[in-house]
């Protein structure tokens, strides 16, 4: 349903998208993960027909997102990463506009308003970030579209609204919608996504099912030593992170795991446990590497 095929858009040597490909099928949620400026929003902008690829293609349905953007937009509900509505319009003005332009159903709107309550008589300039985000969510899902593009959808929402939003996404997924969702919030990605990809410097560096990603991910171990000296000595040999007598160390290959076991056998150990595998552990070190660049 949603497809990026070898898409390249070069802004500079490191900025843009480089040979990016992925597919999102109906009834699935695809998670798009990556540090700020990695290219997530650029990919979504291609799908919304805002950017023209240098090479490759972005399609939704069977329509090219650049050449057939009107048809594509008829199929898409879009939630932008930065919510920017005209300051002098009220929430009601914005929903009325959406009702007319996207020909939405009143029942669906009513349900969404109940789910994300908001005072629509307030002008946008007086709204908090959370209010604007709720308004944008109602606006996006008012349209009963077969495709949703969600850029950082829970940003600014309180935990209750985040939970309701995730339930909504799962409901839409069950209804057969194809959903592309970019986020930094790993637990929500884990709850909703079937597939995920990590993008960095405009390139997809990892793509798999959520289960596959977690199964093949780096494993984190917490090892408690008898003394702080032992902890420091051990950490130095394996690039671990020392916290008092404890060392946190991660491994990704069998060789690394065997080296770890060999080294740890040379010390007196109080406890040895593995951290629960989750998406955050899969991806967080990529963020860290980005930060150190």
């Amino acid at each position: 349903m949603i497809q990026l095929h070898s898409l390249t858009k070069k802004f500079s040597e490191k900025q843009g998208l480089f040979d990016v490909s992925f597919t999102v099928e109906p009834g699935t949620v695809f998670g798009f993960i990556g540090p700020n400026g990695a290219g997530k929003s650029t990919a979504i902008r291609h799908l919304m027909g805002l950017l023209k690829p240098d090479s490759g293609s972005a399609t939704i349905g069977s329509f090219d997102c650049w050449n057939d953007s009107e048809r594509v937009k008829a199929l898409v509900g879009y939630l932008p990463g930065e919510i920017s509505f005209p300051a002098d319009l009220t929430g009601e003005d914005i929903l009325t506009l959406t009702r007319r332009m996207d020909k939405t159903s009143p029942e669906r709107e009513k349900e969404l308003r109940a789910l994300f309550p908001i005072d629509t008589s307030v002008k946008v300039r007086k709204m908090s970030k959370g209010m604007k985000q709720k308004l944008a969510i109602i606006r996006c899902f008012m349209k009963d579209a077969p495709v949703y593009l969600l850029d950082e959808p829970t940003s600014g929402l309180d935990p209750l609204m985040q939970e309701r939003f995730l339930e909504l996404v799962l409901k839409e997924k069950d209804a057969g919608k194809a959903i592309l969702m970019s986020s930094h919030h790993f637990p929500e990605m884990e709850k909703t996504c079937d597939q995920a990809a990590l993008i960095r410097n405009g390139r997809i560096i990892m793509q798999d099912s959520i289960e596959g990603l977690i199964a093949n991910s780096r494993k984190l171990f917490h090892i408690e030593f008898a003394s702080a000296e032992d902890a420091v000595a051990f950490a130095g040999s394996l690039n671990g992170h020392v916290i008092g007598n404890r060392v946190d160390v991660s491994v990704s290959t069998t060789d690394e795991l065997n080296t770890l076991l060999q080294k740890v056998s040379q010390y007196r150990v109080s406890s040895f446990r593995s951290a629960p595998a989750d998406l955050e552990i899969v991806f967080i070190h990529y963020y860290a590497e980005e930060g150190s660049l």
Partner: protein, 264 residues
């Protein structure tokens, strides 16, 4: 979409329409006392003829009627500045700023083409130009009813129709600049520089006959209020040329905007 755009832009549209109309109302209200005292006649006579030439004031006829005062004072000078500010504001509020701030996505996420958006905002700009010209004309007509100004309505119609086409053409040019950049500051500066040059060319062309040819590079040449009032202007032809310029720039705006990469 047009309803939402109108609501969001009503403030500045009414500002220009009512502001210019109040100025006309003020001139019309004080005209009878000015005409009686003859103070401004005396002031004009004391000014150097070169200065009068630059601003296209004719002291012999300037005080004959309220239209003559308006042609020299308002339509000859103030309106040109107002017109360029109007065009820059309209283009900035309707296109450049929504691109810059990302507000445009509210409209472009719906299944409409970018050309549809450009022609919709063009329609709003045209309606705003018409409102300015119409309200100015209505105020003149109302003033005539109240103060019996003995207006030449043929000239009033010609002035208002010409001012409408000048506003529309300037707006079309400014709108085209707005389609060229993602930052509203850049398009505003480029438009302001071009319009500023046009005004300067008009002033310089009045300094000497040697520089008169410079006029032809300014859109303001196509709006000669003095000649319209004296009946010596081919204002209909000028309006047709201004309309053609507007159409060309609206089409160019649609063409460039359709092909632009937008980082909304």
């Amino acid at each position: 979409m047009i309803r939402a755009l109108l609501k969001d832009n009503l403030g500045w549209i009414l500002g220009y329409s009512i502001g210019t109309s109040l100025y006309i109302l003020m001139i019309a209200a004080i005209y009878p006392s000015i005409a009686e005292t003859g103070l401004i006649d005396a002031k004009l006579d004391s000014l150097p003829p070169e200065l009068l030439e630059i601003f296209q004031f004719d002291p012999a006829t300037m005080m004959d009627s309220v239209l003559n005062i308006l042609s020299g004072n308002y339509y000859g000078l103030i309106f040109q500045i107002v017109a360029l500010l109007f065009a820059l504001t309209a283009a900035s509020r309707l296109l450049a700023r929504p691109i810059d701030s990302g507000e445009l996505m509210l409209y472009l996420s719906a299944p409409i083409s970018r050309s549809t958006y450009v022609f919709s905002v063009a329609g709003i700009g045209i309606a705003a130009s018409a409102l300015v010209a119409l309200l100015n004309a209505l105020v003149l007509w109302g003033s005539d009813m109240v103060w019996n100004l003995d207006l030449n309505y043929e000239a009033v119609v010609a002035l208002c129709v010409s001012s409408f086409f000048l506003l529309t053409a300037l707006f079309a040019v400014a709108l085209f600049f707005s389609t060229l950049f993602n930052e509203s500051r850049k398009s505003y500066l480029l438009g302001a520089a071009l319009f500023g040059i046009m005004v300067v060319l008009m002033i310089v062309s009045g300094l000497s006959v040697d520089y008169e040819w410079l006029k032809s590079f300014s859109l303001f040449t196509l709006f000669d209020a003095n000649a319209i009032i004296q009946g010596s202007s081919d204002w209909v032809l000028h309006c047709v040329i201004l309309a053609l310029i507007a159409v060309v720039f609206f089409i160019l705006s649609s063409f460039t905007f359709k092909r632009r990469n937008l980082t909304l």
